[in-house]
């Protein structure tokens, strides 16, 4: 019987596997950042261990770096300590670090692909749940906790239970691909499968709706696999993948022969079977806006907020969750999404802060101004994205429209640095989580695509971007 792409990558990385036992899996790339690594390095020191493969380990600082003027000292002392600690750890253990002043600094999931560190068929781990992003290149990319970070640092391996396979087939063509984006596809998937729909599985995204996407759009899809509960998301590599990774700073020397090998070995066989399948037809999907406090609580921009009864389909906990979500979000059932007014706009995060995201958002705001009651910011995903955007003049479009144009980092996606919402503030955000307090205590998050966020910034409320001319 044929094998899925996941099974092929898994099997080629088994160090030890016995019947009814977990497998010891070899890790090809380990990405490290300042928040989930300090205790792991402490553990190595306490046990007198080295980093097994410093050459396969790469670090950057993204979660709590300030996105304001980098020539100034970091005011938050606990952040400063965490950043300094990563510098010391990388120095002590011989790990390559893209520090706050590096032109390659950025969100770890943005810089991996753009530097050619992320490669098809590899296993990648990082102490961050959005590691699933790298699956867009056909890599098995897993988010792990700090104990596992220490285990990988020490041994370059992980004990893993073999996940199940989940095919998500995306069929059809979007009528307006500038208005209905990859973000809307993945939010639609999560709305349907639920936030635990992928638990214990690796999703492989397949079908015309996926192969039509650019690499950056595919990263948006795989990034939010974890929001559907999955261990990882995968997309089989194709010519777009191979072209994207060619001639990057860390692209391997023998690239052509690697590509030849990937073309043969990194596809799901036609007679392979998945443990489960979900099919989404995207011919008629709309831009999505989340109204609640998890990424499954989403509806079409032209709809109104559902009642807890409509949302829950008779499930008592779901109903209670929806009631609590509406209370937290200060929203009522029946309110039209387009009538929701916002205070803040955040274009950023590992989900939607790559160059294409900024290009698409800039089209919406060109020649216009942010609504007077809204404050808006763009936080590029990496310093390289920022530089490329500036070379194209995008920063001028944003700044002229009264957006703040910031330095790279995770920023307001998770509220670890000074970029946070005040209690009660409502934000149109291109990030990945609308959990209570995620963007700051009491802050209210609506997850949307970059074009939807940009249009909300200009209008002061959500608008259906299908009505705009975005070509």
């Amino acid at each position: 019987m044929g094998k899925t792409l996941f099974e092929k990558i898994w099997e080629s990385h088994i160090v030890v596997e016995k019947q009814n036992e977990p497998a010891l899996i070899y890790i090809d790339r380990h990405l490290v950042h300042e928040v989930t690594s300090p205790q792991a390095f402490d553990g190595l020191r306490m046990n007198d261990r080295e980093v097994r493969r410093p050459d396969l380990t790469i670090a950057t600082m993204d979660h709590n770096v300030p996105t304001s003027d980098r020539s100034l000292p970091i005011l938050d002392q606990t952040s400063a300590v965490q950043i300094k600690t990563l510098e010391n750890n990388c120095k002590d253990f011989g790990i390559k670090l893209f520090d706050i002043n590096s032109p390659n600094q950025g969100i770890v999931h943005v810089i991996g692909p753009q530097l050619g560190i992320t490669l098809p068929g590899t296993t990648i781990v990082c102490g961050d749940s959005h590691t699933s992003t790298h699956g867009a290149f056909g890599a098995l990319a897993l988010g792990i906790g700090t104990s596992e970070v220490e285990h990988v640092l020490a041994s370059q391996t992980l004990w893993l239970e073999k996940p199940k396979t989940f095919e998500v087939r995306v069929e059809g063509k979007r009528k307006n691909p500038h208005a209905v984006t990859a973000k809307d596809i993945i939010l639609s998937i999560i709305k349907n499968i639920g936030t635990a729909g992928g638990t214990g599985t690796v999703i492989e995204y397949r079908g015309e709706g996926i192969t039509d996407l650019s690499m950056e759009q595919r990263m948006t899809i795989c990034n939010m696999s974890i929001e559907g509960g999955a261990r990882a998301g995968l997309i089989a590599p194709d010519q777009k993948t191979f072209d994207y990774l060619r001639n990057r700073e860390y692209t391997p020397q023998n690239y052509d022969s690697l590509v030849d090998n990937w073309k043969v070995n990194l596809q799901t066989d036609s007679d392979a079977t998945f443990d489960k399948t979900f099919v989404l037809d995207i011919n008629d999907i709309a831009p999505q806006v989340s109204w609640g406090t998890n990424p499954g609580m989403t509806c079409d921009v032209n709809e109104s907020i559902p009642s807890p009864d409509e949302f829950s389909n008779g499930d008592a906990n779901q109903k209670k969750g929806a009631e609590k979500a509406l209370e937290y979000m200060a929203l009522e059932s029946g309110t039209l999404i387009e009538d929701i007014e916002i205070d803040r706009v955040f274009i950023g995060s590992c989900t939607n802060a790559r160059l294409e995201d900024l290009i698409e958002a800039s089209k919406v705001i060109q020649g216009q101004k942010v609504a007077s009651n809204v404050s808006a910011m763009v936080v590029p995903g990496s310093q390289m994205v920022k530089k490329q955007a500036e070379e194209m003049g995008l920063h001028k479009i944003f700044i002229d429209a009264n957006f703040e144009w910031r330095e790279a980092g995770c920023s307001m996606c998770l509220g670890m640095n000074p970029d946070i919402l005040s209690p009660g503030e409502r934000c149109a955000s291109t990030s990945n989580r609308n959990f209570e307090g995620r963007q700051g205590n009491g802050g209210r998050t609506h997850l949307v695509s970059p074009v939807m966020a940009a249009a909300a910034a200009i209008n002061g409320h959500f608008v259906d971007v299908r009505k705009l001319d975005l070509n």
């Binding site: 030890v16 989930t36 969750g321 307090g437």
Partner: protein, 163 residues
């Protein structure tokens, strides 16, 4: 393991409400614990005593990979979480560092156990006894790897079986 239950009858308790991002810079576990569940339940620390359990619905611990989440709960005194299901990274983080036990329960246990009930969890028989109500429920047994990591006392103490 015997203790009392604090029940959160909802699904999708995420790691951002267990320990908000702003505290991920805190390295002192005792201090970290003072912020556990801060957003969800301001009375959490007055309810939880050393050795108690949390009971909740589906997809407990969804979201971020922060190991700070099980650490903050563990250092608040929580010995086990009983939930209808768990998000995968939280589940693994809980046992890797031997912070607390993630115990999957069925609907009978979820419905039967109330806030404040005293229960006894026996992972050798996979039984949960409700001492307050004199009821017994089954817990889902740990998979082989998780059982071995728990028995060893964490990921770094686990050694695979020799042939």
């Amino acid at each position: 393991m015997k203790g009392n239950v604090v029940k959160y009858a909802r699904d999708n308790i995420d790691t951002d409400v267990i320990i908000p991002g702003q505290y991920l810079k805190v390295h002192d576990y005792a201090e970290l614990a003072t912020h556990a569940m801060e957003g969800l339940d301001p009375d959490f620390h007055s309810k939880i005593k050393e050795g108690d359990f949390i009971l909740s619905g589906k997809n407990f611990g969804c979201g971020s990979s922060r190991e700070h989440a099980p650490i903050a709960l563990s250092h608040s005194g929580v010995k086990a979480i009983l939930a209808l299901s768990f998000a995968r990274i939280f589940y693994r983080n809980s046992v890797d560092g031997a912070f607390l036990l993630p115990i999957e329960i069925d609907q009978d246990a979820y419905d039967g156990i109330s806030e404040g009930d005293e229960i006894n969890i026996d992972i050798s028989t996979n039984e949960i006894k409700n001492l307050t109500k004199n009821q017994t429920y089954k817990m889902k047994p740990f998979s082989e790897i998780i059982g071995k990591i728990i028995a060893a006392g964490g990921l770094f103490k686990y050694k695979p079986d020799q042939d």
